[in-house]
Symmetry: C2
Subunit: 311 residues, 2 copies
């Protein structure tokens, strides 16, 4: 099978959606726009072999992850995903069946969230495999929920459980697209971000963007089973709490709402998504910086990017 | 300078436009949409070191080329470019000043065509440098001018001069955005493509997409000075005509219009763009395939992808 045949075979597998006017195969893709009153969200994200995945990872999960990361960012804006373009850089030693498997995982996730794959490109890459996904979505007229916008007194929520994603979660996480859509329709968070670099770092981004600080109760941080097992089995030398704060690649939603909405958010979420915990971990304060309340009092953990700065 | 400082310094240089709601720095970019009756064009294109440019090429021109290629594709649809995201994979040996120069060339071209750079990503890449650009644009309600759509009897036009782009043109070409906008406003071509793989191959794409064929007069093909010099100096072993048909990376517009419009197109173009030649090279025919009329009669050159199949 020649390169052209491979590209044509791949193109036939790509899902479209009701907005697709011209899919893969012309100079550009063309997509029908929503009615007025929406803004266009744009995101691009690359995963690179040896950095974001290893050469032993199943290609289906690698393709899935590449799209899921972008979906998580659209979710972090409170947006609805729409169309994607895929750029693949492929080392000479990967064959046709490898690419088909990669697209199998990618296409299945696209179908699940009604995302059209409207084109892209496959090129040779002398180094390792890289996959760059460009994804569009739509948000409200304000442009989507930003990292800035938190108000003093806001409740801080995080979905799911954090830490230890290297044990498998980083390849199989579910982007919180549906949860984010539900939130925006019912409560409109003041600020939102997805936890990709670890709770400590991403909450820091949200606080700095909003010009505020936070007090987080460490006993309220939802620590994953994987983080506990990794600590117990000494796979990681981080404590479970530190793993939850710094491991990254959790791809959970971290957001703030008015404290008067906190109970309604919590109750509504549990009724709508009974299998996905939602944790109230703390409160926005006017003093900048991130403070952690534990058994031995309050300590500042502002600017932690890894355990060197922490324990 | 740390990685975060470099990214922040780069982010400050990025141009925005009147549609930019949220630029680089949040989970996604957000962009104001045009009034109803437009479609969204999406394009992504990657340039890879050792494939599309060499490590000796000036970084300003490499950055420029990465965006110019995408602009050429938006032009090929008759679209107006709007916003771009840049994904950079950077080998460890490139420093901060290299990235600043690369963005210098990229930003300057963006400003020229009022394209906002609304974000992207810089990641480590173990192999050579790669740059992937994702670009949006807008076209009419029909979705833009496709490769398909040519009618029997249509005149075939190509802009500029072809061949020998490796002598420099491939790094410094001007994407035909303004010319394409003018064409769409005044004549609406039946079919259009940009010449990126060489006239022979790209005209082949246009013909196959339209289910038609063509007769091209070889004496009408605009051969570049660079192609003639490369043949004369034996830099290339292709004849100038063959270079014009197969060299690629010309990034000129190739389009078809009703033969009754041909004179008006030619005259209007020359008045509007006096420095850029427009050549009528042949006519669409019902018989599939590409035929070349020369001194020794007509020969079929259907499916030429290089000189092995030709001379």
């Amino acid at each position: 099978m020649g390169e052209r045949e491979i590209v044509e075979a791949l193109a036939r597998t790509l899902p479209s959606n009701e907005n697709t006017v011209i899919g893969a195969g012309d100079d550009c893709a063309s997509v029908r726009l929503p009615k007025e009153g929406r803004t266009l969200l744009l995101k691009t994200d690359a995963v690179v072999e040896g950095v974001h995945f290893s050469s032993e990872d199943p290609p289906q999960l690698v393709g899935r992850k590449a799209l899921a990361r972008c979906l998580s960012d659209i979710a972090a804006m409170g947006g609805a995903p729409d169309s994607a373009l895929i750029t693949l850089g492929v080392p000479a030693d990967r064959d046709h069946s490898f690419l088909m498997k990669l697209y199998e995982g990618l296409n299945a996730l696209a179908v699940k969230y009604d995302v059209a794959i409207v084109g892209g490109e496959t090129t040779r890459c002398p180094g390792g495999l890289f996959i760059s996904v460009a994804l569009t979505g739509y948000a409200g007229p304000e442009g989507g929920i930003q990292r800035a916008g938190s108000l003093v007194g806001d409740a801080i929520f995080v979905s799911g459980q954090l830490g230890g994603s290297l044990s498998g979660q980083h390849l199989e996480f579910e982007p919180r697209v549906n949860e984010s859509r539900w939130l925006v329709e019912h409560f409109m968070p003041h600020a939102m971000i997805d936890v990709s670099d670890g709770l400590g770092m991403d909450l820091g981004h949200l606080l700095r963007a909003g010009g505020v600080g936070a007090l987080v109760d460490e006993s309220f941080i939802p620590v994953s089973r994987a983080a506990k097992i990794r600590a117990r089995d000494k796979v990681s030398d981080k404590s479970p709490l530190l793993a939850a704060l710094t491991d990254g690649e959790d791809f959970e939603l971290l957001f703030t709402v008015a404290s008067s909405d906190a109970v309604a958010v919590k109750d509504g979420w549990q009724a709508e998504f009974p299998d996905l915990p939602l944790s109230l971990i703390g409160q926005i304060e006017s003093d900048s910086g991130l403070r952690l309340k534990g058994r031995n009092g309050i300590r500042s953990i502002d600017g932690i990017y890894g355990y060197d700065h922490f324990e």
